[in-house]
């Protein structure tokens, strides 16, 4: 183990970590929002729209992120869509994540007993209010874990952004590996950074879960 490597590449690695976090946060939060909108439109929107959403979900979910990103970044200019690497990275991240999130939300909707929604309708609650107050808090019970899962998966999908020269973490560690012919150290650094992100994500997930399952704990 050559520790002075970390001193030499530390700044670059940290910079890459920053870019990774930026893309991850922007992409996954955007993905959650788009996914949620898709799931809602699918449930409450017009019937024709749910077909469009179905096709979108299946196609985007069914194809690899690397290829989507490649097509967006290198194919985009042919139709006049010229994006910078980080722009392309975040955009494709939002697009890529949204169908997964939409499916997770769909499963959440399905988990709420029908009777509770009927009860809410009977007191005349508006549908949006039902969504926020009755459905959402309860659907977080079954979906917090899958959501956490997918946030964690996305931390690692950021590595693919290196394909379009986004200077993220993997990009930096690859430089480190190539320039110094060490393998253990760069991968160790890489794993450590991802592990940190996963740890924090997992911790937040657990906290959210604790909160949303309060009512299930019997005294």
């Amino acid at each position: 183990m050559e520790t002075e490597l970390f001193v030499r590449y530390g700044p670059a690695l940290l910079y890459g970590f920053g870019i990774t976090i930026l893309c991850w946060l922007a992409g996954s939060i955007g993905g959650v929002i788009v996914g949620f909108i898709l799931a809602c439109l699918n449930r409450w929107g017009p019937h024709a729209l749910s077909w469009v959403i179905y096709v979108y979900v299946e196609i985007i979910r069914g194809t690899p992120f690397m290829i989507q990103l490649f097509i967006l970044y290198y194919g985009g200019p042919y139709i006049g869509l010229v994006l910078s690497p980080v722009q392309a990275g975040i955009t494709s991240f939002v697009v890529y994540g949204s169908p997964y999130f939409a499916e997770i939300f769909r499963s959440g909707f399905n988990a709420i007993p029908k009777g509770q929604i009927e009860a809410a309708r009977c007191v005349g609650m508006p549908e949006t209010r039902i969504l926020w107050r009755i459905i959402l808090p309860q659907m977080l019970v079954p979906i917090t874990a899958p959501l956490t899962n997918f946030f964690i998966i996305l931390t690692k999908e950021t590595a693919i952004l290196s394909v379009v020269t986004v200077p993220e973490l993997l990009f930096q560690t690859q430089t480190m590996a190539a320039e110094t012919f060490t393998f253990v150290e760069p991968f160790l650094a890489l794993s450590l950074f991802y592990w940190l992100m996963v740890l924090v994500t997992g911790w937040i997930g657990a906290k959210v879960e604790q909160r949303v399952t309060r009512h299930l704990k019997r005294a």
């Binding site: 409450w44 009777g115 009860a119 309708r121 009977c122 007191v123 005349g124 609650m125 107050r133 009512h215």
Partner: protein, 270 residues
């Protein structure tokens, strides 16, 4: 049909049900029900298990999309956009919501929201529908809970309440909204005799304030005491609908009703 009948409806009928029918796939749950509920009346629905009492109640606020016939509340067609059109198209969510605001319901299985405390269960609709301030809503909710003697359990989640306590929260949730019409589906099934008495007196107060009520019940004593009229359902059909004295006071005409009431009579001579 019906158009003419409707116009002949007595003025004081708030709910009119005409030739209502409802299928679950092939199973005929309700057949050709015609029934009026007058303003401020308390109508009790009795009948054997599976006879369609809950289904009828659920059709009244369109929780079940009925297949044939019509239900009017205050002259307004419930649920469907237009009856002449075939197939029928249901109203939009918003329009349905408007209609349902006037109809309260207590479910057979309570359907409390498990993630909210008893108080929040009651207060929720007060803020979101009646637009009361948080504080006002909580006060009103507390008042409703007090009516059903649950003031000391206001902070419990439904999972931490006994069966009867849950049922009382459900009742409080519905009456707090002060609807024009209340639909009760076995509101006392989980209650002890004392509380049945209490709920009965709450309902009597409501009736005195002019609320219309349709109550499904298995407690004949309850029906006898609280109802203006009692309707007997069997296998999805309305067998009879008469004042309680006629239903319980003398030997009923209908053989089905007679045998239904008999076991009850025998057992309750304690």
């Amino acid at each position: 049909m019906s158009k003419e009948q409707m116009t002949t409806t007595a003025d004081d009928a708030i709910i009119t049900v005409r030739n209502l029918s409802k299928y679950f796939d092939d199973f005929e749950a309700l057949r050709d029900i015609t029934l009026d509920v007058k303003r401020s009346e308390v109508l009790c629905l009795i009948g054997p298990s599976g006879s369609g009492k809950s289904t009828l109640l659920r059709c009244l606020n369109f929780l079940e999309q009925y297949d044939g016939g019509e239900v009017h509340l205050d002259g307004e067609l419930i649920g469907w956009q237009d009856i002449s059109h075939n197939p029928r198209k249901p109203l939009s969510g918003e329009a349905l919501r408007k209609q349902r605001q006037h109809i309260g319901m207590v479910f057979q299985h309570f359907h409390l929201w498990p993630h909210m405390s008893a108080l929040d269960n009651v207060a929720e609709a007060l803020t979101s529908v009646k637009k009361l301030s948080k504080k006002k809503a909580k006060e009103a909710a507390m008042a409703a809970l007090t009516k059903v003697h649950l003031e000391d359990k206001a902070e419990n989640y439904p999972a931490n309440l006994s069966g009867g306590q849950q049922q009382r929260v459900a009742i409080a949730r519905a009456i707090a909204m002060e609807p024009q019409v209340m639909l009760f589906d076995e509101p006392t099934s989980a209650l002890d005799p004392e509380l049945v008495g209490e709920v009965l007196s709450v309902m009597k107060d409501l009736a005195a304030e002019g609320m219309t009520m349709v109550v499904v019940t298995h407690e004949m004593g309850f029906a006898a005491h609280v109802a203006d009229r009692v309707a007997f359902l069997d296998s999805g059909r309305l067998v009879t609908c008469v004042p309680p004295e006629e239903m319980f006071g003398r030997e009923p005409d209908d053989a089905r009703v007679r045998s239904f009431l008999q076991t009850y009579r025998e057992r309750n001579v304690v």
